[in-house]
Symmetry: C2
Subunit: 196 residues, 2 copies
DNA sequence: CGTCTATTTGAATGTACTCAAAAGCGGTGG
DNA sequence: CCACCGCTTTTGAGTACATTCAAATAGACG
């Protein structure tokens, strides 16, 4: 089992001793997901937080009318779960599916709590993880409120340039809160402006 | 100086010893804000996180066209700042103004870091604060993407029933991402449905 | 009391959506 | 490995939701 990626992800924020490394690696479990497998389904208990070792996942909400709203993408080296339901023991509000064959590390609520209780470094790491998640979502809210769809698309592409190879336009549209048809016309208009 | 409210806010998540209480109370400073005073202005350094001891604040973004987008409200017993800029030392992206005469406690970045370094309990408290902030924003994003404006308004009123006495409709509209005129017609339609 | 801002109302406009159909592309199985 | 099938993307027409602009009314603050 290769823990380099997940340990480096943590070590980017806190320095880990070999004992701490040992406790962390023994707290997580490895799992493979095939393309289109679900890591989590709406209504199910959300028992784990996932670290993406390889591949790509997507979390989305499905409303009564069947409309998908993409909450987040998680590429390699990202953490993902339905955080509210994971932390509060509620049934999941979202689906999380593998966009391609993926490998993830799972951390259960009980093991997370044990790490938080026993390793001050991990408490700090998780605090920083939550800080970053919060400020990222805050920024997304500011953009959703203040920018038109075309500009939000530009920013998305600029911020996550590598993502376009792994997700469909339909999925990007549902992340931006617009229809795939409308994203298509946005892209057409953009192309018109370009001299090639 | 009455620290009961802020200490209780923290003690809701972690138990504090008298030494810890002493370190926390000596890390914060008290400040009064008159109605319409700014706690923070766009472009300025964001040096503090604020705890609202009394009154109410509002954070909003102002775009090039002069349109306001309300990021969050903070009533009594809430924490507020431009978290991204506070944590990363960037100039503020938002204005934070007092909606009425208010009293706040300020915690500087340096003092926050000291508390995080010296008090594991405070690190835990702040982690939980960030967790809650993150999951709240996540929920807001889901609603913004999947619900029509009228439903978002209902949810807002249901979630923060006391807030309607302290903020204007114009401010609520800018929180929901719609114009005040449109919120007005939403309310009119709602009233029509009601037999009184 | 007077002024300034918020709220309501209505008309005209525009942005983004729905529906439908054609074209493109990718995955899968023969 | 190619051909088919299904899903994604594009395109266009018609529509609906929400905006802009303007003006009248109401309400709040100094």
């Amino acid at each position: 089992m290769n823990f380099d990626l997940i340990l480096n992800n943590i070590a980017r924020h806190v320095l880990l001793s070999s004992s701490e490394i040992e406790q962390i690696t023994s707290a997580v479990t490895y799992r493979k997901l095939a393309r289109k497998d679900f890591f989590l389904e709406e209504g199910q208990p959300c028992k784990y937080i996932a670290f993406v070792h390889s591949g790509a996942l997507r979390a989305y909400h499905l409303d009564a009318g069947g409309k998908e709203s993409t909450i987040m993408f998680a590429l390699t080296d990202w953490w993902i779960t339905d955080m509210y339901c994971f932390l509060n023991g509620k049934p999941a509000m979202v689906f999380i599916e593998a966009l391609e064959n993926s490998e993830i590390f799972l951390l259960s609520r009980e093991n997370l709590d044990r790490l938080l209780d026993n390793l001050p470094k991990f408490e700090r790491f998780f605090r920083i993880l939550m800080q970053n998640a919060y400020t990222r979502e805050q920024l997304r809210i500011i953009e959703n409120l203040s920018l038109p769809a075309a500009k939000r698309y530009d920013n998305f592409i600029a911020r996550y340039p590598q993502i376009i190879n792994q997700v469909t336009q339909k999925q990007i549209a549902s992340y931006l809160g617009i229809t795939p048809e409308f994203l298509s016309t946005i892209r057409k208009n953009k192309a018109k402006g370009t001299i090639s």
